[in-house]
Symmetry: C2
Subunit: 468 residues, 2 copies
Amino acid sequence: MRRLNVFYVMTLLIVAAFASGELEAAAVKANRLPNFVVIFCDDLGYGDLGCYGHPTLKTPNLDQMAAEGMKLTSCYAAASVCTPSRAGLMLGRLPIRSGMCGKRRVLFPDSVGGLQESEITIAEKLKERGYATACVGKWHLGHHQQYLPPNHGFDFYFGIPYSNDMDNVSGLPWQEGVKNPNVAYFNVPLIRNLEEIERPANQLTITQRYTQEATKFIKENKDGPFFLYFPHTFPHVPLFASEKFDGKSLRGLYGDVVEELDWSVGQVLKTLKENGLAENTLVVFSSDNGPWMPFDEQGGSAGLLREGKGSTWEGGMREPTVAWRPGFVPAGAVNAEMCSLMDLYGTFCSMAGAEAPQDRMMDTNDLTATLAGNGPSPRKEMFYWRDTRLMAVRFGKYKAHFVTQDAYTKEPPVEHDPPLLFDLEVDPGEKYPLKPEEHQPQVKKAQELRATHLASVADAPPSQLDRK
Amino acid sequence: MRRLNVFYVMTLLIVAAFASGELEAAAVKANRLPNFVVIFCDDLGYGDLGCYGHPTLKTPNLDQMAAEGMKLTSCYAAASVCTPSRAGLMLGRLPIRSGMCGKRRVLFPDSVGGLQESEITIAEKLKERGYATACVGKWHLGHHQQYLPPNHGFDFYFGIPYSNDMDNVSGLPWQEGVKNPNVAYFNVPLIRNLEEIERPANQLTITQRYTQEATKFIKENKDGPFFLYFPHTFPHVPLFASEKFDGKSLRGLYGDVVEELDWSVGQVLKTLKENGLAENTLVVFSSDNGPWMPFDEQGGSAGLLREGKGSTWEGGMREPTVAWRPGFVPAGAVNAEMCSLMDLYGTFCSMAGAEAPQDRMMDTNDLTATLAGNGPSPRKEMFYWRDTRLMAVRFGKYKAHFVTQDAYTKEPPVEHDPPLLFDLEVDPGEKYPLKPEEHQPQVKKAQELRATHLASVADAPPSQLDRK
């Protein structure tokens, strides 16, 4: 009977092994932390997607993403230009608190500053919880080694360190260079991790290559959890589309480029679906600021919103935003409540079981319930900074401008006392100022919020953008 | 065995009866003429629906209709104001050809003119094919008995004969009356068939009552075929919403009113579905012209389009249009090709097996294949008339303005020679004029089209609007 005993024991062992493996897998699945993907465009306008009303720009993948998820119609970037907007997203706090804004507005190739080591990016927070992290695309939070993504919580980086119009070596006037785009005019480096691998970066194929790297990262980390930060180079001018998209859209080169971005979104969602990750991955699509209007038809459209990139009118900072996680985010939802891309920090922390930093002033909220369709947005206020100047505040549906200035104008800023007041729900286009005498409580509230907020940034660090 | 024989014969008879019944039903179904419903808003802007990009106006029924059908993003009204736009829709021909435009722009309570007996409405055409026909809502093609819907091919009429702001008896300045809406200021009659049944029409409940009449007509004619023309009174100012909607939207009173219209659309589609008519009914939703901008937040938004009601800029005449017929119109389609509401005439004729009039100049096309997703739009040109003056022409993606004038301005019209040229696909907002010297073929083509078109209206009849 010895042999039978051996068989018996072996069988028991095998069954036990299977059972424990399955139990473990189930336990892991139940406790599995959600993955996060942030697809972040550059200078895309509020009105540039089909599902945000553009008549000729075709974005079937984003329209489908919105149909399967939630369209956020009142979601703000942290700032109206590139560097501070991205700092806000990465840190969950206003750029004024991290020194990531200044008179120069953004970082340039000759800048010496960047994101400080003392700052805690969302990637660093998620790494604490075991996330694999990648940044694929344009960084623009400092191009010197110590500022690059691998030194701020990202396991992997592939992309350009600043805007694609920088390092213009053509000798042509810049705008003329843009009107006659030629990749050789722009000598932007392409970096893998900390190493420059190509210069000038071939922008004709960059969206394709970003998409390859992004989907590869997803597949390689399908056992998760992972965080993919995917900030595209486009539709920031100069515009380049790959052969497959060049000349194909109705909307001209700008349309070609955005339709390639839409294709890329489709590839990401397809990869998630094919790898069984859709229900465990929150994908957020948005843009860093409004459309760059001086570039005429090579810039985007803010739809019915006023002005664009660089201004604190709505067109400068309200972004076309779509959140997607099938089974969690309700399909086809439209949410008009105020929220900010800075809130992704608190939301991801909450979903990943991490604690947002307690030792510093944060400007983030937890949108988990909002995105699940279970509650109002916790955000009650929005502060509109232009570089180092507080221009406006939104509280509930009211927006009070203390100072207004169009983005690209030679006119000086105009101060408003009492503030210029709008009801953004009734009048999202900021066309019809409310009468201050009929809105005394709102005027008072705006002034109080301004004073409290300014006090909270009294010890703001020096600008990294203006460092010499 | 006699008994068995009886059973056998009976069984055969029953089977035969069933089979013949089924065959007959199938034959009827195959030959059944489709029903048509046109839901037509008044002064709704291109940017006022959720699916056309409005951030706070919630139109879940129309968004769903678009998801189940086709969004037409380049569909034009026949004119930029009420009377001529409706004449174009009803007749499939430009208002200049029927005398339904003039210096007064629209018909007023003191007008003596109206739609002439010699004109052939789409309702009359469909009656020839056995359709039951109803007009529920605002007519505005003449309020004297001979001009009313029952004398132009409609079996049934319930609605107001002209705009809801006419017959202002308050003695208040008109705009002030609008800002303090009170139903008693506006003494508009409500008519059933040819009989005045209420004066002033209670506008607070009018959308509810229209919807009741419209859905009742559908149910009573479910054996079809039927044509329901459903031109709403709103969101033309003065704005009134029923108790259920008043004060409920984020977008103020304008939003309340549009959300009630959205509800009404939902009721119509629900009625069609519940009565098994969805797959055999083509529903088209649109508006007569762009938003009435001098009314500030009580007017709508044209989104990214330029200007509004009364002008021949895109905002005046391009309409948010949704076509729906499950199983025929592809779900979730977006079509950016040029078409006109005048094309509904030719489309309905084609689908109903009727022949469009051959004895007069028509301006209509057959969109059947386009709506089925099987072909490009047959429309190659669009002529933009302002009253009795040809202002602009569109051919393909190009629009050439010969004359421009904002809608509500004291500035005189500006003539352009060469014409002011835009690429509406790249630049739907008409912001960036093309250089004529770089577009000589387009300039020439525009001038030729203008000359040919003007020759085609050389024998235009006198204006019904300016008749005394």
